[in-house]
């Protein structure tokens, strides 16, 4: 899932690219959400007494519950969410999917064992590992979102890549996902924790790609190569090269080709028939619908339609659903207010005294600056 240790590398080498803040700071912003990631989270996290939410007829409703209330939470904060669903997986991902299936089989075995032993905690743990989003659940959620007036975008291939294309085209401000490869695909801004429950009180974490590249002093291509070295969904990595080494190697040699020419292949086992170049191509030119042409329209919710679906078919509490929809309507009105910083773009960063002075003094160690002498306090 995602890029291994990328958030750690960013933390170490580009801390200024990460900002934390409240959800309400994003009011008026359009955000593309990786639906599969969100759904998976809901199935894992939206639970009661450790098991998934179910209605009277035993159908799982965690995904609808999560999608409904957490989407409303965003809209209530003035955000305009659009959900992007995965299309067919790229064939490059077959290896990764195979690995995931193996893990699932393993978990299934362990689950059976745990059940036999009666180890409730282990049962719970393995059950969570077995969670996967079914096709029906995907369709149910799409139906709900359309009733709520929230745009649903069907990606031809990877949702992450489509989100990035929307962000690049300026159709949305950011991609909201937990998956770091949204950055590798070129999302200008990545938002984490957007679909988390309010009760968790998790601040929204914003990662700005331009700042990451500036602080890493890397081009987009070099960054993609770094991500491949760290470990992505599309091909294996060189054993023995961890995050620290990978960062140093890209800084020094600029590309995987150069690195392969330089490193001791006896020491570092390069995978056979390593398809890094195809993975790179997938990140740089993924199969997506042109961001410019994707229509996204936020509509008024079909209140009766939502009530008929959630309460009529899925046994949700009508009172709660209606009050949440009322909240959403209010949020939508607030969401109409434009942001001044979406009209005027940031021209420069201002640093006030005395921090500016401290900074200038640090700079002076290198270059002697003109200007009035600054007296140092001992």
């Amino acid at each position: 899932m995602g890029i291994k240790d990328l958030s750690k590398v960013i933390n170490d080498h580009a801390p200024s690219a990460i900002k934390q803040g409240e959800m309400k700071n994003y009011f008026g912003r359009k955000v593309a959400i990786d639906a599969s990631m969100a759904l998976y989270q809901f199935l894992i996290a939206v639970r009661q007494d450790g098991s998934q939410m179910q209605n009277e007829s035993g159908e799982v409703t965690s995904h609808l519950m999560g999608m409904f209330y957490r989407t409303i939470r965003m809209i209530d904060n003035g955000i305009k969410p659009a959900y992007v669903f995965d299309g067919k997986p790229p064939d490059m991902k077959a290896g990764e999917l195979e690995k995931r299936k193996e893990k699932r089989d393993e978990a299934e075995k362990q689950l059976a064992e745990a059940k036999e032993k009666g180890d409730a905690e282990a049962v719970d743990r393995f059950e969570r590992r077995l969670v996967r989003v079914s096709k029906d659940q995907n369709e149910e959620v799409k139906r709900l979102l359309r009733l709520m007036g929230v745009p649903v975008v069907e990606a031809p291939c990877e949702a992450e890549a489509q989100c990035a294309a929307l962000a690049k085209a300026g159709k949305v401000y950011a991609t909201a996902t937990e998956d770091m490869d949204a950055l590798t695909f070129g999302s200008s801004v990545l938002l984490r924790h957007m679909t988390f429950s309010e009760a968790k009180k998790m601040p929204i974490k914003e990662i700005n790609l331009a700042r990451v590249l500036a602080d890493f002093e890397m081009s987009r291509e070099e960054f993609v190569d770094l991500c491949i070295l760290l470990g992505c969904d599309y091909c294996p990595t060189i054993r023995g090269i961890g995050p620290k080494r990978a960062y140093e190697l890209i800084k020094e040699h600029k590309s995987i080709e150069n690195i392969l020419a330089k490193i001791d292949t006896k020491k570092y086992a390069v995978p056979e028939d390593w398809l890094y170049a195809r993975a790179r191509e997938l990140f740089l030119n993924p199969e997506v619908a042109d961001g410019e042409n994707v229509e996204m329209v936020w509509k008024e919710a079909d209140v009766e339609g939502v009530v008929a679906y959630l309460c009529g078919e899925k046994n949700f509490s009508e009172e709660r659903v209606r009050s949440s929809l009322a909240k959403m309507k209010k949020g939508r009105q607030a969401g109409q207010q434009g942001r001044i910083d979406s009209f005027f773009s940031a021209a420069k960063v201002v640093t006030s005294e005395p921090a500016a002075k401290r900074k200038a003094e640090d700079d002076k160690k290198g270059i002697k600056k003109r200007g009035p002498p600054i007296k140092k306090s001992k």
Binding site: V297, K299, Q337, R339, D341, F343, V350, E353
Partner: protein
């Protein structure tokens, strides 16, 4: 070293009082030409842009471009100590470390008072505001604009402004009723109460009444207010500072493009 003296503290008081509820702390950009301030409100909907030119000051000295980060609440506290007729000197010395000194002097009573305000570390993005020709420029007495905003605020949180060649119309529609105010250019341009209107292109835009009303707190600064509008662009409300600068408010429009797409 930065040193600037105003003949009367009242102008500084009025400026800070009119923006302190919008902006909590702000970086004052001091250069040889002017003392400026640009800051967004906490929700990033409005932008305050202040320019106090050298001509506004009695004496002005700025050796190098510096940026003073100040809490407006602390500044307001300091200015509260000053009488309106007092002179007001703002001073920052590189050797002082992290404080700005305000000196208020009552010349009649030979009394001076120094108030120091601790500076804050501010690291903010400065927005580039493009120079642009607005489609509509409207000018009127500040009292008139204030009344319009407070009248309309009673009906709705949203104000609609439309302008055509001959008139500009402010509309506010609420559940209980609505109010429509129309301005046409005054015939008697010599009257101090006159309204001027210049329309290059018609506009139709929506804004938050609450914010517009908030801006009218600056009405004490000037007799006239200038309002500039273009479709899909922030509105500009400008209060002049004795021909030596201005206090401008920019407000992002409300966008209802989604509603239009409803079937």
């Amino acid at each position: 070293m930065f040193e600037a003296k105003l003949t009367s503290a009242s102008i500084m008081k009025k400026i800070i009082d009119s923006i302190k509820e919008l902006v909590t702390d702000a970086p004052f950009d001091c250069s040889e030409q002017a003392m400026c301030l640009q800051a967004m409100d906490s929700s990033h909907v409005a932008l305050v842009s202040l320019k106090m030119e050298v001509g506004l000051f009695d004496t002005y000295r700025c050796d190098r471009t510096i940026n003073l980060g100040l809490s407006l609440a602390s500044m307001a506290k300091a200015l509260k100590c000053a009488n309106n007729e007092d002179t007001c000197e703002i001073k920052y010395d590189d050797n002082d470390g992290d404080t700005v000194t305000f000196t208020f002097c009552d010349t009649k009573r030979d009394r001076t008072q120094d108030v120091t305000v601790k500076m804050m570390d501010i690291d903010v993005e400065h927005l580039g505001i493009p120079d642009q020709d607005y489609a509509v420029v409207l000018e009127m007495p500040v009292t008139e604009f204030k009344k319009t905003c407070s009248d309309l605020f009673m009906f709705s949180e949203t104000i609609n402004i439309t302008a055509t060649k001959g008139a500009v119309v402010f509309t506010s529609k609420g559940d209980s009723g609505s109010s429509v105010i129309t301005y046409t250019p005054s015939k008697d341009v010599d009257s101090s109460e006159h309204v001027t209107l210049d329309v290059k292109e018609p506009v139709n835009v929506n804004f938050s009444t609450k914010y517009l009303l908030q801006f009218t707190k600056a009405s004490a600064l000037s007799d006239r207010v200038k309002i500039a509008l273009t479709n899909d662009t922030p509105i500009v409300i400008e209060y002049g500072l004795n021909d030596n600068g201005h206090l401008r408010f920019y407000l992002a429009p409300k966008i209802d493009d989604e509603e239009n797409n409803m079937d």
